[in-house]
Symmetry: C2
Subunit: 427 residues, 2 copies
């Protein structure tokens, strides 16, 4: 091994890219100790010229073609040209680091098949949970665990919005504005608030856990934009509402969903506020393991990318990056997916009923007919006028039973004013 | 690389050893996928004959001498012959996996210097936090972080006892008996309840974090055996008492301690019950990262050992184990340690005073003179007779000011009945 140093080509010089350059350069000494060689940024590519003219490259192909570059860091996000950069870099014999959950979730098969064929490595710790080392945790820390369940608060933007709604009692719209001002939400926040970003990350974790490609389209995904301040208020004594990504191995297949859930105060997830993320992994032998940390922000994301660069460089110096696979991906492995909505649990329900005699009896009757057992029923009476809210916490029930009840109740327009609210409970 | 398989020699066939054999053998298929070769247990050494006569070896030296064995797993615990096994295995060109925190904390210098000299690797994930991948998290996940602080609930036995005291309102002695019955405390629990086990684990984490050898003797260590049910009761509305290991980088050196602390309910540590452990790492760029999982029990510990075996085997197949160092240990690095007790914070204090006029004024006066500012003062009045308990929560204060106050108060025997209780607060 005659390499004098590891040369990095950085593609994408936005917030995270700048953080990566800063952290890598500020820690040259510790990097040298860990890797045994210097790790230097040789070239930086961005759509626009940057303040570091000595390193600037206009065309990313010049980085991929550069024989001196050992490792390409893709930080532009989105599908293209990110996919092309990753695939072509691997084919050019380079190792890759990316923070791009969207491209991984969408092109999992192509990316990991290419990496295996080329015997090159791709690291992507920053794609899920920001600085939290959960990818490594699943791949290595829990190397031989049979994974039974993965649950996570995986999106900093929505968690920031939900924390504001909970703590300040404000509406979704006002909380979103605060998140935008604080820099935790984009001008167009739809990928975050619609749950798509969480679904991308859950797809990555589930694909790792079960060794096949679990696609985003298999994840029943609901966002937070329809969430009402009223439900946040009505539940605040027992818990708080969080956007939870969940993948559970059941007898009949893996049950995958992203949806707002009511997390009880004693659950660890209830302490996960603002831009923090948390991921719980349940294994057959290990029990529950939880990882928690900042899921958003320049420094946490950049720190995770630099860790990937350093850990991958340790293999590059001995020419072994990609020789031993890191992702156990078998494109022929069939993974059974449970059709969305088949799984059950305990639920929070809110109905708005016409405020006249017999309505409650009707409601309870329909729930009972559908085998939905009521744990508690309250009429918080914060509405005035002709309608009254009824809040129900259920015992464990099949979701299909619940959906049948709701369908029946909605058909009785005279008694149910608006769409019922349904939130699964995490205890 | 012509190895047909990786051969493991297992030394110590107690609870964890049996778990390692079971998990490794039950997961041969996934191990083969991850490592690319089979990983098999070739020999097992134990003081007593075992039920697997085909693998049994009476003398551990026969394992160290066996040229076919690639990896030695030391699971006998204690100092000797554990130290000899580790050192001689490394010298014999073998990689080592251990779960032994005591031997690592005591012989850090010798063990890691030998590993570096021999260019062999030693993995020890199970030595801290059971199944929680925190060693890997510190070494790799947060590879270039400047670590500012590490705090943890690191001992399952004491946490089980404290959980019982909190939830059932029972005494330390009764809770210890329950832990022994449940298999979470040894017949002689002194290493656990005196805080020594926690100190060993904290020494390992701190040594990793700051790249030098931080010795157990530098950790101000207090256990839980003097804890009274009364203080658990008096604090239950605001928090719970946990044994916390803490290492904080300050301007004047690293402040290291193990002691029971009052953890407020909203702190994540408050949700860590029974045999669970949690470790919080604060880095300059990453912020707070928390790891949580089972710190005790056969399966979690064995799962961590098997993960180490698999991850190390991935290097052994390419003959690169130990080539790139995993522990950044520089024996010449001087690490400044803060003398115990120099650091401060907010505190819970309980004094038992003679129940007569003027006593409170005297107490408040002495605290005030020593610059200890009172946030709240209550007289819970659960005592009857000539003495009354006074509970004080302080604002942030220097510990030395507090100790000076307590010294002064104790000299006034007529007013303070017993030793005051002092617990640092984690918010």
């Amino acid at each position: 091994m005659n390499k004098k140093q590891i040369n990095v080509g950085l593609i994408g010089y936005g917030t995270v890219g700048k953080g990566v350059a800063r952290i890598l350069e500020a820690n040259q000494k510790i990097v040298l100790t860990k890797v045994g060689k210097n790790v230097r940024i040789k070239s930086i590519c961005d759509r626009n010229p940057i303040d570091r003219a000595d390193l600037y490259v206009k065309n990313f192909k010049d980085i991929i073609r550069d024989p001196e570059i050992d490792l390409v860091v893709e930080l532009i996000g989105g599908y293209e040209p990110a996919r092309t950069i990753i695939i072509e870099s691997l084919k050019a014999g380079k190792s890759v680091v990316t923070a791009n959950k969207a491209v991984l979730a969408k092109y999992w098969d192509q990316i990991f098949t290419t990496a295996q064929d080329e015997q090159k490595a791709i690291y992507y710790e920053a794609s899920v949970g920001g600085v939290i080392p959960v990818v490594q945790g699943l791949n290595e820390g829990l190397a031989v665990e049979e994974i039974l369940e993965i649950k996570g608060i995986l999106n900093g933007t929505t968690n920031f919005i939900l924390s504001k709604m909970t703590k300040e009692g404000i509406s979704y719209e006002d909380a979103l504005k605060k998140a935008q001002v604080a820099g935790f939400a984009e001008a167009d926040p739809s990928f975050d608030v619609n749950g798509i970003d969480t679904a991308n990350k859950l797809a990555i974790l589930a694909s790792l856990a079960w060794g096949g490609w679990i696609k985003v389209k298999n994840i029943a995904t609901k966002g937070i934009s329809n969430l009402q301040a009223k439900d946040v208020h009505l539940t605040k004594d027992i818990g708080c509402i969080k956007l939870v990504g969940s993948a559970i191995q059941t007898k009949n297949g893996i049950d995958l969903s992203v949806e707002p859930r009511l997390v009880y105060h004693k659950h660890t997830f209830a302490t996960v506020d603002n831009e923090y993320n948390a991921i719980m992994v349940r294994g057959k032998d290990c029990g529950d393991v939880l990882f928690y940390g900042k899921g958003a922000g320049q420094s946490p994301a950049a720190s995770a990318v630099v860790s990937d660069i350093v850990n991958l460089s340790k293999f590059i110096v001995t020419n072994t990056a990609g020789i031993v696979t890191d992702v156990i991906y078998n494109r022929n492995k069939k993974i059974k997916i449970l059709p969305a909505g088949d799984s059950g649990g305990e639920y929070y329900l809110r109905f708005t009923l016409a405020d006249k005699p017999g309505m409650l009896a009707k409601l309870c009757g329909i729930l009972g007919e559908n085998k939905v057992s009521i744990a508690s029923l309250t009429q918080p009476n914060i509405n005035k006028g002709d309608f009254a809210d009824v809040v129900i916490l259920t015992h464990k029930t099949q979701n299909s039973n619940l959906e049948n009840s709701i369908k029946k109740l909605k058909s009785l327009k005279s008694i149910v004013k608006t769409n019922p609210v349904k939130l699964k409970i995490e205890k």
